[in-house]
Structure formats: C-alpha cells, structure tokens
C-alpha cells in the first residue's frame, strides 16, 4: 500500500482533479468528467481511522519523485509532474477529518476576485498588482475545528428610562432606574475555529461564514487538485477561542432582549458552556501571502462563498502623490470654479 494517494482517470490514467463548477472530478488530459459514484467504484480506498506512521519522505504516485512538503501539508502537487498528491497519513487516525465543504470558486474566479480587490487598493505597491503575483493565489483546504455547544447564561444590570418635558421656563428631566435580569439558554452549532498556526486567526474569522448546508462527509477525493493542511492547533486549545466567542454571542443575545430603555449597563454576568463537542473539518479558502518589507500581508477568499478579506501594505509615496493630486485638482476647482459662482 502506497503512502500517498493520487486519483487517476479511469480512461487514460492521468490525474483527476476536483472541478468546483460541476462538483465532479475532471481529467484535464482527456477531458472526461466523473461523478462521486464513478470515482468511488474505481477508488474505494478512504482515509484510514487508524494512525498511519509518518514517513521521512514521500514519493509522488505518478512519477516517483520526492514530494516537497511542510510537516503539516497533507495535499499538494508534485513539484516535477504537477500531479495532485495526497499524503494519506496526514488524513488518518486523529487527523481524519469528519467533514468537508468542497470548493465552489475556481482558481480563475479567485484570481479575478483578487485582481478586482487589489485594483481598488489605490495605495498598494505596484508589485502587488502584477500578473505573477496574481498567479500565486492558491486553493487550500484549511483545517478547522467545528464546535457544538450549549450555553446557559445570565446577565443583570441597571437600566434607565429618561423622559423630558417643558413646563414654563423650565426643562424637566425624569430618570427611572430598573434592575434588569435576563437568563436564557441557546444551542450553538459548528462554531468554526482555525486549526492552523500558519493562518491568521483574525482573517480566518473574517472569512466566515461558510454555508453548512453544503457540508459533506470527508473524503480524500475532494482534496485532489488543491493544497490541504492538517491541524497543528489541538482541539483543546481551539476550544478556549470558541468559548470566548460563544460566551460573547450569548451575552449579546441576552442583551438584545433588553429593550425600551435609554441605557443599560451590565453589572453582573455569568455564562456556562456545556456539551461541547469538536469535530474536525476541511474548509475551502484561496490564499495569497505577499511579503513586503519583511512583513506578511494576507489575502483570503472564502472558497465557497467568495467573501474577501485581506490587507495590503501602504506605499507612502503613493499616498503623498495621491494627496498632492487631490489638493491641486480641488484647489484649481475652488479658484476657477469659485470665481464663477461669487
């Protein structure tokens, strides 16, 4: 049994890749497309529940060359023959994901989205707008922990209701004070927490939400044609991030039931989370990391919905030039246009 998996076309034995627009598998060599059942009949093998021993090196299943991959990379392309290859050990045992949301955005669409986004960033350095840069956009299945939990919460605090009226020469202000208490429960489903240290948590949260109606049982097949990372943030560690989010959700939810007051300030709150369950999932993103003056700048597209987040460096020179142009143009308009009006 080989340690890497490559999905091959049943017709011509060239590599099969997952094709987002049709949600089928496509052979780019002979052009054939296969649906889930068709691929399954040829490739029965699935990710193992058993831990598989990590090897020192992996060889491409197509050409036999050694794969160049980070310790967390679990799906990649052979550097030599460009065949998509999947490292089975990194999807096995404790690294076997329970679910996956397949890509819906194609790489070409992702490039287009990046191009549109970067052209709107007036102050981004020119290098960021070049074609070579745009071509670096990569589709990655990112490891996420999805948490279910039950929240039990209480908030209490002082609320005021202010009314004012006029009588004669005086303005009267009446303030009524209330002690407001709310207790409630709610269930949260699949709060996602980024399971990769490589990916910026802040941006990964901004790229949410994913549409869970499209979630599928995990299969390595979906990885074919994309990069994938396995988690390196344990579920216990991710749990604390999730707990903070769930607690603030619950608090906000309870707060939203306090209505009809001029002000409300929380004095006391207590939120308990129970029945916490984590499941491991692969969620699709397109990623582009630009280095500029030693700092990483991240651009991420939600591979399912197309939502865009990211930051670009600011070129001071471009800022100054822009400010000067705006100043001169508005100055000319003010002087010569103003002279027409006065």
């Amino acid at each position: 049994m080989s340690s890497v998996k490559g999905y091959k076309c049943p017709n011509c034995n060239a590599p099969l890749e997952f094709n987002p627009p049709t949600q089928n598998w496509k052979c780019h060599y002979c052009g054939s497309e296969f649906n889930l059942e068709q691929v399954d009949t040829v490739h029965k093998e699935e990710a193992s529940d058993q831990d598989i021993q990590e090897l020192d090196s992996y060889k491409c299943s197509s050409c036999g060359a050694e794969l160049i991959a980070d310790a967390t990379t679990s799906a990649t392309f052979c550097l030599y023959c460009k065949s998509p290859t999947i490292i089975k050990s990194r999807f096995s045992g404790k690294f076997k994901p329970r679910s996956v949301i397949p890509f819906h955005i194609t790489k070409d669409q992702a490039k287009e989205i990046y191009k549109n986004w970067i052209t709107k960033k007036l102050f981004a350095p020119k290098e960021f707008k070049q074609k070579e840069e745009i071509d670096k956009v990569t589709g990655i299945y990112a490891p996420f922990w999805l948490f279910d939990c039950k929240a039990n919460g209480m908030i209490s605090g002082e609320a005021t209701r202010v009314s004012t009226w006029r009588k004669g020469d005086y303005l009267y202000t009446n303030t009524k004070y209330f002690l407001v208490t709310r207790k409630g429960t709610a269930k949260y489903k699949r709060i996602p927490v980024d399971g990769s240290k490589k990916l910026d948590d802040r941006f990964m949260q901004m790229v949410e939400p994913f549409d869970y109606s499209d979630i599928k049982d995990f299969s390595m097949k979906y990885m074919s044609g994309f990069m994938a990372e396995r988690y390196d943030v344990e579920s216990e560690q991710a749990k604390t991030t999730m707990q903070m989010r769930a607690k603030s959700y619950m608090e906000d939810r309870l707060r939203s039931t306090v209505t009809g007051y001029s002000s409300f300030s929380v004095r006391d709150k207590h939120i308990d989370l129970s029945n916490i369950e984590a499941s491991y999932a692969m969620l699709p993103i397109y990623l582009l990391i630009n280095k500029y003056k030693g700092k990483d700048h991240v651009f991420i597209i939600n591979g399912q919905t197309g939502k865009v987040v990211g930051d670009t460096p600011i070129s001071t020179l471009r800022q100054i030039v822009f400010a000067l142009i705006v100043f001169v143009v508005t100055w000319i308009i003010c002087v010569f246009g103003g002279a027409l009006i006065v």
Partner: protein, 253 residues
C-alpha cells in the same frame, strides 16, 4: 470731409469722453502738484475699474444741501466712464463743514451704506484736523479697496479667490480626508453575528425581570435666545433733480 465728420460722430458716440477734470478745488486747499497726483490716481481707477471718481471742494453750495449739490454736480458735468455713467463723487462742503459721498449706477452697489459710513468716518477724522490732501487720498484708497472687492470681471474674481483662505483650506481638508479614508479602507469585516451559529429556535429566556428601583427628576431653566439682528450689504438710494438714481452718505467734521 463728410467722411471725417461721420467718422468723428461715430467714434464720438462709441468712445464718449467723460469730463477729464476729476479734482475740483474751489477753495484752494490743494496745491497744483497735489491735484495732479490725485488726478493721476483717479485716472488709473477709471481705466482699471471703469468707475469715475470726482472730488469737489467748495464753500458755496448755492443754498443746496450737500446731497443735492453732490448729486447735481455729478449729473450735470458729464461724469461717468461706462455706458451707465457709473461713478462716485466726494463733496467737501466747507459751508456746512460736511462731507458727502454721492454714488451712481454700479457704484451704488459697490459702495453700500455701511461701507460709505466707514469711508466718511475715516475722511472726517482728517478733515477736522485740516488735512485735506490726506482726506482725499484716504477717500481714493477706500474707493480702490472696495472696487477691488467688487471687481466683477472673471480675472478680478480669480485674483480675489487666490487671496482668500477657503481655496487653500478646503482642498487641504479634502485631500487629507480622502487619503485617510482610502488608507483606512477596510480589510474586511466580521459578518458573522450572534445568530449565525445559533441553532434556530434554541434560544429560550428562562428569566426576564425588570425591577423598578428609584427615580430622579431634575429641572433646568431654559435660556431664551435673543433674536440675532440682520445687517450687511445694503445700499439706500434716492432720486436726484435730474431724475437719476444716487446712493450715498455723509457726515459732519
């Protein structure tokens, strides 16, 4: 010969020459040199702003009021540079120890009541000390100052614009604000909310109490605002004996 007559009539009609004597001193307070200097300044104003400027010093108004004398002097002595005979006349009336400024046509709009009373105040302070030449120069200074403000040619407006601060401040503010706005252009925002991951219908309130604690009432006196007064660029006018409209004003010294 006939051609010459027709031509001269024609050019005479187009380039109608106004009275070239703009400084008339019946009393002899000004030296010939001073009169020449004043005339030179006035000629420049006539050329540049198309406004006639006349200075008359007299100690005999033939029983007329300062206003009437000034209006008539302007009307009956062919003053006025443009087709509406726009201009203004300062009468120093030594009989009544009074100064009067009479305005006509475009000058009525330029030299508003408040500007004239300011000019008169400045002039009378010189006149009461007997500085007649200085008073005339002060008058011409003011005439130029306000003519500049009211230069209605496009070039005049542009040069006024260049000297005003808003044409520098407004572009500066727009430039800084637009640069900041574009710089701060959001990196993307969190679009998940409290409800995104909440299982539909799972939220239930188990306690919902609002307990009345206390209340306070305060009162403050309402300050009544006095209505703000209007004012500004208005010119009052009257008809002179010739039937023409004049504006103006004056004061004693």
């Amino acid at each position: 010969m006939l051609v010459f007559v027709v031509l001269s009539l024609f050019t005479g009609f187009i380039a109608y020459t106004p009275n070239p004597v703009n400084v008339v001193d019946h009393v002899g307070y000004l030296t010939d040199n001073e009169i020449q200097q004043l005339q030179a300044r006035i000629d420049k104003i006539k050329d540049r702003y198309k406004l006639d400027v006349v200075i008359v010093i007299t100690d005999n108004t033939n029983g007329k009021s300062s206003m009437k004398y000034a209006d008539d002097y302007y009307d009956y002595n062919d003053y006025g540079v443009d087709d509406k005979d726009s201009g203004l006349l300062m009468l120093i009336n030594m009989q009544d120890r009074e100064v009067w400024i009479s305005t006509h046509a475009r000058a009525i709009d330029i030299y508003t009541d408040s500007r004239i009373s300011g000019m008169v105040n400045g002039i009378t302070s010189y006149l009461s000390n007997g500085y007649y030449y200085d008073a005339c120069n002060a008058f011409i200074d003011d005439v130029i100052k306000y003519a500049k403000y009211s230069d209605t040619s496009y070039g005049g407006k542009v040069s006024r614009m260049l000297k005003s601060w808003p044409v520098y401040v407004i572009p500066l503010v727009i430039s800084i604000v637009s640069t900041l706005v574009i710089t701060g252009n959001s990196k993307g925002e969190v679009t998940t909310s409290t409800r995104t991951y909440e299982e539909a219908g799972s939220f239930t309130l188990t306690q919902n109490t609002d307990m009345y604690l206390r209340e306070t009432t305060t009162r403050t006196k309402i300050q009544s605002q006095p209505p703000s007064g209007g004012g500004g660029g208005h010119s009052t006018t009257h008809k002179s004996s010739s039937g023409r409209t004049h504006g103006g004003g004056g004061g004693k010294f």
